[in-house]
């Protein structure tokens, strides 16, 4: 099927559960997540690492799954938007987005939420400038940025920890 190029046996953690799957070396993470594992919350849009719709977390840091080889998550911890809610309860970031109505069409929202998740891990109490800088790489074509930044500011003020 593929000119004698061997498949790669891939093992990684996905939303807290171990996954084993054979992939072609060229397969992209976004396709494996969406088309082979059925997790369609991760969106493909620009396909060139600019828009942020395909953001997932790898070992807690955001990556563009559209331009990331699935083979490169071997042994790593991947979190998609489907993995944030715990025991039926939305993650605090998701709750803040709901509270502030921080979405319009919703297409950028999964990537936006995961970016914010990473932001608050790296900067538990970010300044407005830090929030804007960090989210620069997540584009909302509805231009609904104000509510998003308000939601993140609320989280930053009320987040527990230092």
């Amino acid at each position: 099927m593929n000119n004698n190029i061997p498949l790669i046996s891939l093992g990684f953690m996905l939303n807290g559960q171990g996954v084993s799957i054979d992939v072609e070396p060229r397969e992209l993470l976004v396709d494996v997540l969406r088309d082979r594992l059925g997790l369609t919350g991760t969106k493909r849009s620009c396909d060139v690492e600019i828009c942020g719709a395909c953001t997932v977390l790898v070992d807690g840091l955001p990556v563009s799954s559209c331009s990331y080889l699935a083979a490169d998550v071997e042994g790593r911890d991947v979190v998609t938007i489907e993995g944030l809610a715990q025991e039926g309860r939305l993650d605090p970031v998701q709750r803040a987005f709901v509270k502030y109505g921080a979405m319009q069409c919703g297409f950028c929202t999964p990537g936006m939420v995961l970016a914010v998740k990473a932001l608050l891990t790296l900067h538990p109490h970010p300044s407005t400038e830090t929030i804007r800088h960090f989210l620069r790489g997540n584009i909302c074509r509805c231009t609904g940025y104000v509510k998003i930044i308000e939601a993140v500011k609320d989280l930053a003020e009320h987040q527990s920890g230092h």
């Binding site: 600019i50 942020g52 953001t55 955001p62 331009s67 080889l69 997540n138």
Partner: protein, 265 residues
Amino acid sequence: MLPARFCLHRPSTTAEALALLAEHGDEATPYAGGTEILVAMKARVVNYRHVVDLKRVDPLRGVIRRGDGTIVIGSLSTHHELANDPLIREFLPAYAEMSENIANIRVRVVGTLGGNLCFAEPHADPPTLLCALDASVVLAGISGERIVSMADFIQGDFATARHDGELLVRVEIPPLESGARAAYRSFGQLERPAAGVAAVHLAGGTWRFWAGALVSKPIMLAETAEEIDQRAGRIDAHGDLHGSAKYKRHLVGVLARRAMRACLT
């Protein structure tokens, strides 16, 4: 879009990686973060039958400071790692600041300095500052290592002094003389800088300015701010999708002043 089919090789030493590159010649490419090469391969602008993943070659990681003050950066270091590296932040704060402003957080988390330099996209931030800092790159080949100054490394659009089969293994930045300050400022409407200017304020009060993204590689501008003002209309610049030559020349003047102000405060 998917890249064309390729074999993925995962060497764990530099020697193994070099042997793979030698074996497969121009059918092979080194691969690190992939933020540049994967996008090009997806667009089928380039096609490689063999992709040599360097991420398991641990000696290419990390930052050290030699006894003489030279900062040595392993080529697999990501922009995010460099922005937060304690040695870089202490001894090269201008580099940490520049690194924190490359593209977006996802590119910084994945993209490596070595990949950025070897891809040699003219609209990039690190080469301009590295030229101003008098940095060099070390290239490893089957027959040994050679050192090339940053000013000579990038030769044109997507073209470098690296030969096929060589790997960029580290970047060396000599210490700034005591009291010298450096800063980098860039501006762009797109993901990449339309223009970037690095300024180094030397202890004697003289300046060194480099500009990037104006033409196909970084260029040294002038030694004084007055010279930049006088020459602004004649600085070599190409118009492209990031702006006209005239616009870029205007940016250089603005960015040079911003970089100077950052050096002096």
